[in-house]
Symmetry: C2
Subunit: 369 residues, 2 copies
C-alpha cells in the first residue's frame, strides 16, 4: 500500500513525552488498577493474579459484549465485535467492507484515518469542510450532494476530533434517508460520545447500514487496555469477526476482564471524567473572556476542541516553539490541514491545564502578539 | 476486500471451549501472573496495581524492544516494531510492503494467512508442497523456480504450523542468494522457533531484506498479553511504525511491562515450556511404536506436528466425531487443505495428552479401524 504519514499520531508520538503542560491530550487522565478498585469499591487483584494470560474467548466474552450493548438501545451481543481500540475497529470496518474503486465521503478537519486508509485501499474520497463560523457544523445537504454511484460509505466522527462537532438525530436521519436506498454504509467513530447531558443517538441504533465504533480509551481513562468495539448488523459483524482472524485474533483475557469491570461501573467512571472535562471547559470559557488573542467553539460533548489563535504564525512553528520555550504541548492545526489552530484537550488535571493557559498568555505577552 | 474463511482459526474458535482432551493447541499451557511471579521469584502485583492504564510509549518501551533484541544476533532497538501478536505482525508487514499485482510464494500445508491475506490485497501466489515422505521438507529449488518478475515476497513459517518443518541456515542461504539481486523480501513467521537444542538463525539476522515475526504467545505461555514483534531493516520498521498509526496505535503499558518481564526471564520460562513439549513428544513417540493406525513426523523444534491416520474417513468428520464421542479436540487436516491428518499440539499437560491418545486408540478399537 502507498503509505502517507498519519500527522496527528506521529506528532503525538514525537512530542508527548517531553512536556510540562499537556494541553492537547484526548484521553481523560488515565486510571491505574488500584484507582479503579477505589473508585468502584471493589477488589480486583486476586482475580487478576490467578487468571491465565490466555487469548480468552476469541470474539470477546459474553459479559464484555453484554456490557458494551448497554451503551446502545437496540440489538444483541452478536451485533458487537471486539477490537484493539477504535483505530483497529475503523481499520477492520474499512478492510472488510471497502475495495479499490469504491468512493467514500468524509469531512475536514477530522481524524486522518477516515479518508487516508480508504485511499490506501484504492478508494476515492470527497471531504466536506466544517464551518467554524457556524460552530464547526456542516450542512447535511453538502454530504448528500457528493453521493455518486460508487459511494460505498460515509465516514464521520461524532463528536469530532479536533472540532468537537456532534451530529444530532435529525441531521443523521436526513443523511440516512439519502443513503438507505443505495445501501450506503454510514460509519461513525463515536469514541468521544457520552459525556454530554443529552447524547445524540448512535448511528448503529438508527440505521440498518449504520456502523458505530468506540472504545474505552477516551472517556473511560483506560486506553492501555486497548479494548474497542464495533456495533453493526449481524452480517457485518460476522464478516468482521472473520477478518479479525487475519489481523488480531483476540484482545486477551486480562483486558477483557478489566474492560468488563470498567463498563459495569461506567456511571462512576463517567462521573469522574465529566467532572474533569466540564471543569476544564468552564475554565477555558472564563479564560477566553479576557484573552482576545484566542477563541474557541467549546463543544457540549467530547474531550477536545480546536483553539483559534489570531496572530500570524504557522501552527507547526507555534506548537514547536511553545513546547521548547514553555513546555506547553499542543497538536498544531497543520496535522489536520487547518492553519491558525491548535487542538486543545479538556482531559487533564484542571489546575495544570489552567496554569498552562496562563503560561500561554504570558508567552504571547513576551513576544508581543 | 474479498474475504475467505480462515479455516484453522474459525475451527479453534468454534470448538476449543468444549473439550476434555485438548490435543491440538499450539500455545504451551498458559501462565497466570502469580505463576509468573513464582517461576521468576519476583513480585509484580504492586507495580501492576499502580501503573496508569495508558497507551505507554507508542512504538513500545526501549526496555521491551531491548529484551526482544536479545533473541537476535544483529541490530538495535530501531530494528524492532511491536505488534498485537504475530498475526498482526504478519498483517502489518503485508499491508505495508505488498500491493495489488505483486506475486508472493508460500507453501502448503501452512498457516492460511500467508497466502490468503496477500490474495485479499490483490496479489497472486504460488505454493510449494511440503513432502511428508521426506519429513515434510521442501527442496529450496522448488521455491526458486517459482520466482518471477512480479515476485515481491517469499512467506514461510519456521517451524511450520502444522508440520513442524524448520528451514536450516544452509537452505535459507541458498534462498537468500536467489532473492538478493531482485530485492525480494523473505518474511518468516518464527513464532514457534526457540525450543530446540540447536535453533536455526533468524532470517532477520541473515538477510538485509529478511523480516522475522514472532510473539510471546506460543513458547512463552502468555498469548493473552498480545505482545508480538517484527524484526527488519530500519527502513521497513519505520514504514511499519507509520502503518501502526492507522491500525493499532500501541499495545498498552500493562502488556509492555509484563512482556518485558517475561523476556527478561526467558530462560526460566523456556525451560518450563521445553520440559512440557519434550515430554509430550517423547510420549507420542513411545505411543506410536505400538499404534500403527497412526504415524507422525515428530519435529525437533516447535510445538505442533501433523498426525497421519491410516484409515478412510475425511478429517472434518473424524475431528467432529471424536470431539462429540470422546471429548478429544483436534484441528482436522481439512483446515490446512490436507486430508488424513490431524494437527497435534505438544503443549498441554503431558498426562492429559497421553490419556487423550489412549482414548483415541480405544475409540479406533470400538469402531474397528
Amino acid at each position: 500500500m502507498k503509505l502517507k504519514c498519519f500527522l496527528v499520531e506521529q506528532w503525538m508520538t514525537d512530542h508527548e513525552n517531553d512536556c510540562r503542560y499537556n494541553l492537547t491530550d484526548t484521553c481523560v487522565e488515565p486510571l491505574s488498577i488500584s484507582q479503579l478498585e477505589q473508585l468502584t469499591d471493589c477488589s480486583l487483584m486476586d482475580t487478576i493474579a490467578s487468571m491465565p494470560l490466555d487469548y480468552g474467548p476469541i470474539v470477546g466474552s459474553d459479559d464484555l459484549r453484554q456490557s458494551i450493548l448497554s451503551l446502545y438501545t437496540t440489538g444483541d451481543i452478536d451485533n458487537i465485535a471486539i477490537t484493539q481500540g477504535t483505530n483497529n475497529a475503523n481499520e477492520l470496518v474499512m478492510m472488510t467492507l471497502l475495495k479499490a474503486g469504491d468512493h467514500i465521503i468524509s469531512m475536514t478537519p477530522t481524524y486522518q484515518q477516515f479518508y487516508e486508509l480508504p485511499a490506501m485501499l484504492g478508494c476515492s474520497y470527497d471531504l466536506v469542510s466544517l464551518d467554524e463560523e457556524n460552530g464547526w457544523k456542516a450542512d447535511v445537504e453538502s454530504f448528500i450532494a457528493l453521493i455518486n454511484n460508487q459511494t460505498k460509505m460515509i465516514i464521520l466522527n461524532s463528536p469530532n476530533n479536533p472540532t468537537g462537532t456532534s451530529f444530532d438525530d435529525e441531521w443523521l436521519k436526513t443523511l440516512i434517508d439519502a443513503c438507505r436506498e443505495r445501501q450506503i454504509y454510514i460509519l461513525i467513530d463515536e469514541i468521544y460520545r457520552g459525556l454530554a447531558d443529552k447524547t445524540p443517538s448512535s448511528i448503529a441504533d438508527l440505521y440498518e447500514y449504520g456502523i458505530a465504533t468506540a472504545s474505552l480509551s477516551k472517556l473511560y481513562s483506560v486506553a492501555g487496555l486497548r479494548i474497542g468495539w464495533i456495533k453493526a448488523s449481524h452480517q457485518v459483524i460476522d464478516n468482521i469477526n472473520q477478518m479479525r482472524n487475519y489481523t488480531i485474533i483476540s484482545t486477551g483475557l486480562l483486558s477483557d476482564f478489566l474492560g468488563t469491570h470498567v463498563l459495569k461501573n461506567k456511571e462512576l467512571i463517567l462521573a469522574r471524567s465529566r467532572a474533569i472535562v466540564n471543569q476544564n471547559k468552564d475554565n477555558l470559557k472564563a479564560y477566553l473572556t479576557h484573552e482576545k488573542r484566542l477563541s474557541c467553539v467549546i463543544p457540549e460533548d467530547g474531550t477536545v476542541g480546536f483553539l483559534h489563535y489570531h496572530f500570524d504564525m504557522d501552527s507547526t512553528t507555534l506548537a514547536e516553539t511553545l513546547q521548547k520555550e514553555t513546555g506547553i504541548f499542543f497538536v498544531p492545526g497543520s496535522c489536520f490541514d487547518k492553519e491558525y489552530h491548535l487542538r486543545i484537550g479538556f482531559t487533564r488535571d484542571p489546575e495544570m491545564t489552567l496554569a498552562g493557559l496562563k503560561r500561554l498568555s504570558q508567552w504571547m505577552d513576551e513576544h508581543h502578539y
